[in-house]
């Protein structure tokens, strides 16, 4: 995988951390997942790899469809403010990515660029969940982490198991669908998808 391709995936991830509009973030995550599927198809060595690439693409399209529909069904009167300004969010995400790259030794993927991209996407996903208050952005944070891990599975020497790759894709879709059910109920209950309102349970 070329360095430019890895940077493209990382840039999409960083975009999710800093952008304001939910539709733009969904588009970025979808573009990232489709780029991963294209990478898998390009490097496919057999029918199993092609099936895995197809599953990645299908997962990206299903999630995109569900998330765009949800955005349309739960229009916010005004955008949910994040816990931090875009520049601060970006700085936190990049700092976390650098820390992870420093802490985690050579993973064993087929290129160092791919390893850095994987760690950056995991860090961006965690940063998105931690710094965004909009429930839909928190779901996108989890999808970002899974996209990073999908890239890791693609760049494993010898490849990952097809069954595991399909299982991970299915699990992510299931979790995202359940999250969407919760998002819609939270929106119906509070009139907004703002996770900051979920603060009744304290000890």
């Amino acid at each position: 995988m070329s360095g430019a391709y890895a940077w493209l995936l990382v840039a999409c991830g960083l975009g999710v951390v800093v952008v304001r509009r939910r539709t733009v973030a969904v588009a970025l995550v979808t573009a990232q997942a489709l780029a991963l599927a294209a990478l898998a198809a390009r490097d496919a060595a057999g029918s199993n790899d092609l099936v895995a690439a197809g599953a990645l693409a299908l997962r990206a399209l299903v999630l995109a469809t569900v998330l765009f529909v949800v955005v349309a069904r739960t229009r916010e009167a005004r955008p949910v403010r994040a816990g931090a300004a875009p520049l601060v969010r970006g700085a936190i995400a990049v700092a976390l990515a650098l820390a992870l790259t420093w802490l985690v030794p050579h993973i064993g993927l087929d290129s160092r660029d791919a390893e850095r991209a994987v760690l950056a996407l995991v860090a961006f996903g965690i940063a998105t969940v931690a710094t965004r208050r909009a429930t839909l952005f928190q779901v996108l944070g989890i999808v970002l982490v899974e996209n990073g891990l999908g890239l890791a599975a693609l760049r494993l020497p010898g490849g990952a198991s097809l069954a595991i790759e399909l299982g991970v894709a299915l699990d992510l879709v299931l979790v995202a669908l359940v999250a969407v059910v919760f998002h819609e109920r939270i929106f119906a209950e509070f009139g907004t998808g703002d996770a900051a309102l979920l603060r009744a349970l304290r000890d």
Binding site: L103, H106, I142, F190
Partner: protein, 486 residues
């Protein structure tokens, strides 16, 4: 196909098929069908559990499934708690007003998702490799989050949301650890992640340690170990009582089994001090965090939730010590905690009938007004506090002794001290809940319905477990637990 393989297939396939059947069944037959199906599902799980524990010296491990003593123990626990949860569900559902599932689909959705969750829980101890185990654990998140938020009330939505996001993120970190480990096992792929092959990791000790730490840190978020336990008290307190029982008594130890199998498989690579030390650290942190909450006056289900944090810490310590004494204690603790905790959560439904405000504040003097209910709460809390002759008293003694046997005297001493402090907190709660000064006027006797036979059965099983706990150290089961699947 061997009898164990066939049983393992049926143990997972029957509840999964039941979930599908319940999802499309006519509304009027959902409840009787749900109750009837619990008997074969529970029976199959208990049969395979008995088979695995009767012949602990001959574990079977394949690419996709494995049956051994530890898996057999968990199958028995999940089978029994699942059975109890289904049987007490009608009493809970009779009091439900509205749910996450719209309109008349509430009861059907509840039973279908409950069976799907049960099927996944039964599949986790049978998983033949780490990748498959991760997939099953992740899938339990989707099913159980729907059940946590079942009531659709704001607090339940908050609990379900936190649970879904935090555990999914944690499991993402665990998957990063799995990728790291898979890259270092010769051959890689699915076969490289089998419990046998993980021990052949050959890409350097540092990478193995990082992979192991990421894996355990991620699983910790799902087990509910401190400091990544934030979702646990919320989800346990807001879920329907039969689901809280499954979460605490079945889900947490099932995920813990994955951590245990990983520890056993990777000990030759990362070294015993690191492999066990990390679990001991999680165990002590969980105990230390839980104790101050056990001293506070908390609503019944929230108190049980913090008790889960304490007990998962105790089990982590036993696994981390990894001596025969400690693992004998782990076996007794897993079973005893499941029985006592499930009973406590099942009793929450009649408790809330008796005192609806018990969902927000600590109950008091229940045995003075409702003897049978008070006795059930007392048995549950007494057993969880490890009050003799509770089997948890024996298991905690075994685990602390195992710590000294393992050459970790400071950790064992700290465990004993924290357990003593936790006992004081729970003993105070036990006295307040049962014979304290009631905060409300006497009401009509609450009907225990299906809780009565479940309560008697759980009490008898706890007594039997106390007796068996004395025989367990030195048995073939403990030898098999020490050996594991590797």
């Amino acid at each position: 196909m061997t009898s164990r393989a066939l049983l393992a297939l049926l143990v997972v396939a029957v509840p999964a098929a039941s979930a599908l059947l319940l999802a499309v069944a006519p509304r009027r037959v959902v409840r009787p069908l749900g109750l009837a199906l619990s008997l074969p599902v529970g029976g199959l799980a208990l049969a395979l559990s008995a088979l695995a524990l009767a012949e602990p010296g001959s574990p079977q491990a394949h690419a996709w499934w494995a049956v051994d003593a530890a898996g057999g123990l968990l199958l028995g626990v999940v089978g029994l708690v699942g059975l109890g949860s289904v049987l007490v569900s009608p009493a809970f559902l009779d009091g439900v007003r509205g749910s996450l599932f719209s309109g008349p689909r509430g009861e059907r959705g509840y039973f279908a998702v409950l069976y799907a969750f049960w099927a996944l829980l039964l599949a986790v101890p049978l998983a033949g490799n780490l990748g498959q185990a991760w997939l099953l654990v992740e899938a339990t998140t989707a099913a159980s989050a729907l059940l946590v938020g079942f009531s659709g009330k704001p607090r339940a939505l908050e609990a379900g949301w936190k649970y879904l996001i935090l555990t999914s993120l944690g499991l993402g970190v665990a998957l990063l650890g799995i990728v790291l480990l898979a890259a270092g096992v010769p051959g890689g792929g699915l076969s490289g992640l089998s419990w046998h092959e993980l021990g052949r990791f050959s890409a350097g000790g540092d990478r193995a340690v990082v992979g192991y730490v990421l894996l355990l840190a991620g699983l910790a978020a799902k087990v509910g170990w401190a400091p990544v336990h934030n979702w646990l008290p919320d989800a346990h307190s807001e879920a329907p009582p039969p689901v809280s029982a499954l979460l605490s008594a079945a889900l947490l130890p099932a995920v813990l089994l994955v951590a245990w199998r990983s520890e056993q498989a990777l000990t030759p690579v990362v070294g015993k001090p690191t492999a066990g030390g990390l679990l001991v650290a999680f165990g002590l942190a969980s105990l230390a965090v839980s104790v101050p909450f056990l001293w506070r006056s908390l609503a019944w289900k929230r108190l049980l939730a913090y008790s889960s944090l304490e007990h998962m810490g105790v089990i982590a310590l036993g696994i981390g010590f990894a001596t025969p004494l400690a693992l004998a204690g782990v076996a007794v603790h897993v079973a005893g905690h499941a029985l006592a905790k499930a009973l406590g959560f099942y009793a929450a439904t009649p408790l809330l009938d008796h005192d609806p405000r018990a969902s927000r504040r600590a109950p008091a003097g229940v045995a003075r007004q409702q003897r049978a209910l008070g006795a059930t709460l007392g048995i549950s809390l007494g057993a969880l506090a490890a009050l003799p002759p509770s089997p948890l008293f024996v298991s905690e003694v075994l685990i602390v002794a195992g710590g000294f046997q393992a050459g970790r005297p400071w950790a064992a001493a700290a465990t004993a001290l924290l357990l003593a402090l936790g006992f004081l907190g729970l003993a105070h709660a036990l006295l307040e809940t049962t014979v304290g000064e009631p905060r409300r006027r006497p009401t009509a006797t609450v009907r225990l319905r299906s809780l009565a036979p479940v309560s008697v059965a759980a009490t008898l099983l706890l007594a039997a477990l106390s007796a068996a706990a004395l025989w367990l150290p030195g048995s073939g089961i403990v030898a098999a637990l020490v050996r594991g699947l590797a």
